[in-house]
Symmetry: C2
Subunit: 464 residues, 2 copies
């Protein structure tokens, strides 16, 4: 009954076009409506709910838009029970039928056991699965084995504007009693085998500007007598990584955590067919052939990607310009135990060395535009043990212990600010298509995921 109601609510929630990306007043209204629906749902569950005003945001064009409230809710405050705080978000990526959706993106539609709709897996389904788990105890008139808190936002896809500030503000109030934080905002690495996420890479994003003068030159009238900024920049960018993906910046691997035997076993156990993965990625060949090598290079080794160049000629056609000032952009995905400020220094020293060898008359400036630490969980922690046991109970298997090669800043925000254990417990299958057309959550994942959360509450209480 609870789960049937849960599917009806998912349909109702998916029907709200809570798109936080497009800065349109109508969509902001939908976001506010979405947050109000969720607050109402939690209140009816018996939670005390606080919708915290998010203030407003000014867009680059000067327009001001209101930020939807962040919901802080709690159910139970028994000091003998552990307090688990669930983070989720109810905003979604844009979706239009004509982008290639086979069904209306805002009408939850079941086909062959798959529930299609924008937000179904990212992240409305998982938020409701948690609520379903709580409702199940309520419906059976059983005491909740743990104290539950919710923090639910509506701006995750737009960069979680206002979240960090709220977490800092509420550190000694709402979060003071929180023992564990659970996030269910990523996916398994398999279609059928559940997973627990225990780490993400960080990211340090660099810009390197080479300037001769502000205006461009014509290649006919100046080609041949200039240190062309593009030639300098190409040489700088070309010094960063070799054709096997190895980063050439001296010292960059010095602090990468050594590979342990235990970790090696973990990669071996993971359910991933490298050929299938390669095919589904539409890539002719990866740099590595084995499952273990692929996973290690996505999760536990740093990588360097060159993203592009600002200020050069980027349009179709043939323009004979010598750009006067160009900015190269690249980033390094960071892993434990790389230190961001050490990396920053290594990158700057390396580029300064390469540039000095060219004896160019141009000016070069290197900046680290963005730095996000890697995140690694303590998988010996109680909540990881509880989640493993719950997965065993519901799915009859050990989970894949996975990491995410991307950066999920909210994990670090919670870990750094409130200094409590953070766990990522995904519900969705690898092919759910978050952010893509025809996003879905499998009916099976949604139902078993709701059960998983309930089992997790019980295991959590036992271990506490």
């Amino acid at each position: 009954m609870v789960l049937k109601l849960g599917r009806m609510t998912l349909k109702e929630w998916v029907a709200v076009e809570s798109d936080s990306i497009q800065p349109v007043p109508r969509l902001r209204q939908e976001l506010f409506r979405m947050m109000a629906l969720a607050a109402d749902k939690l209140r009816r569950l018996g939670a005390s709910v606080d919708s915290v005003d998010g203030g407003s945001q000014q867009l680059p064009n000067g327009q001001t838009l209101p930020i939807p409230p962040i919901i802080l809710a709690e159910l139970g405050n028994d000091p003998k029970k552990p307090t688990v705080c669930f983070y989720g978000h109810l905003d979604v990526q844009p979706a239009r039928r004509e982008d290639g959706w086979l069904t209306d993106p805002y009408t939850l539609t079941e086909v062959d056991g798959k529930l299609y709709g924008r937000g179904a897996t990212d992240n409305k389904g998982p938020v409701l699965a948690w609520i379903n788990a709580v409702s199940a105890f309520r419906a059976m008139e059983e005491d909740l084995p743990v104290n539950i808190k919710f923090i639910i936002e509506g701006m995750e896809e737009a960069g979680s504007v206002a979240l960090e500030e709220l977490v800092r503000r509420e550190k000694d109030r709402f979060f003071s009693s929180v023992d564990y934080v659970v996030i269910s905002d990523n996916l398994w690495i398999s279609r059928r085998k559940p997973a627990l996420t225990c780490g993400t890479r960080g990211n340090s994003y660099f810009t390197v500007e080479v300037k001769c003068r502000d205006q461009d030159f014509h290649s006919g009238t100046f080609g041949g007598i200039l240190n062309e900024p593009m030639a300098d920049l190409i040489a700088l960018l070309g010094s960063l990584v070799d054709s096997s993906g190895h980063i050439l910046i001296p010292g960059i691997y010095d602090h990468v955590a050594p590979l342990t035997e235990e970790e090696k076993k973990m990669y071996k156990a993971i359910d991933l067919d490298p050929e299938e993965y390669r095919n589904s990625s539409q890539v002719k060949k990866f740099l590595f052939d084995t499952k273990e090598e692929i996973l290690m290079h996505l999760w536990r080794y740093p990588s360097l990607s060159i993203h592009g160049i600002e200020g050069a000629f980027e349009e179709p056609g043939a323009k004979t310009v010598i750009p006067g000032r160009v900015i190269g952009k690249f980033s390094i995905r960071l892993v434990p135990h790389m230190n961001m400020s050490v990396v920053e220094t290594q990158v700057k020293q390396h580029l300064e060395y390469i540039f000095s060898k060219r004896n160019s008359s141009n000016q070069m400036v290197v900046s680290m535009a963005l730095g996000l630490h890697p995140w690694i969980a303590n998988i010996k922690d109680n909540q990881y043990l509880a989640a493993k046991r719950a997965i065993k109970t519901v799915f009859g298997t050990e989970p894949d212990m996975i990491r995410d090669g991307s950066t999920i800043p909210i994990a670090n925000i919670f870990q750094d600010v409130i200094q409590k254990s953070v766990m990522m417990l995904p519900l969705g299958a690898v092919d759910d298509g978050e952010h893509a057309q025809n996003e879905k959550i499998n009916r099976w994942n949604y139902i078993e995921g709701s059960k998983l959360f309930a089992a997790f509450f019980l295991e959590m209480a036992k271990l506490h």
Copy 2:
């Protein structure tokens, strides 16, 4: 009197916003009006004038715009006299007061002996100087010493659409009696010393595409396991030219004409202060310090410029994208006696070699998108001798014998199609600012230039 009338006509012509760049019906009407004014002027001079319908052009957006007529005019057909054909254009680059003009761009305004206005030097002033020269003979009721033909177009700034086709079509009619073609569509290299242009560089424009797949990747989820197309492309582009401007493609210098002692002397005689040139170019340092080295590397040696990359991230900000398919663009300015198809082969072989060494699983395609031959005049030719003598008469000096580092396709069109001697005889000073804000022609250049053309007619007749 002729020259006073000439300045009045220049004012009238500059007042027409004959902008061929912006595809706006109103501006096309202005272009038609401009061509009609010129046809009328030539008719009043006694010329027989044919305004050849230019047809229409279809823009990338599907819009169709009419192309202004090309004027073919002639004055005299005495078989005993040489026939000189003057090429000019009456369209202009866009100009708006708010772009930084100190006077209204479409109101010819004299300040300190400078006539400011869009098109004053490029190319309405020189066209009128030629007409003034003819008018002077008419006013003095003297016979023209040469037969004169005019070909005047209105689409030069937009790529001389329709010109080549017309020249080919008229090869055995209008152009059959032409002995010499004179173009006055470039500038001196000095403020005060006249010049004769005797060569331009050609250009071969290359694209090199590296593709993994059509869609981009996220650097978090794929960084570390891919042969990233940007890394391949950066390595390819980085193999083309060193930091001293030397092109690294094997064999590329093989056919560059050897430097003769006579040519060396020519560079020595040219009026150019390298320091002043560097300062006015707002460049901290050139690759070369001496006048001779600078001129040789702009005119008689090839140069390679990297223009940019299509398909990568080129906007401000920090996007963590791994571009799936990128197209690098570079071009080589060609000089005598480089052969375009040899260059094409050398570039392709070099890039294929560099790419093969990387052992990348991506696909690479190199294409020559555009090829324009260098142009070199025979300065021993009668019309160059006549021009030198006329310059001596009017300015009391030998001209700078200069080349242009850019490519001026019309010179090659005339030389290739009608197989007659082409000369570039500039009138404007180096600081005239063609295409820029505050374009001007000096009153002195305009008047002496008109006299120069008249003297040239006389010298031409003597030498014939």
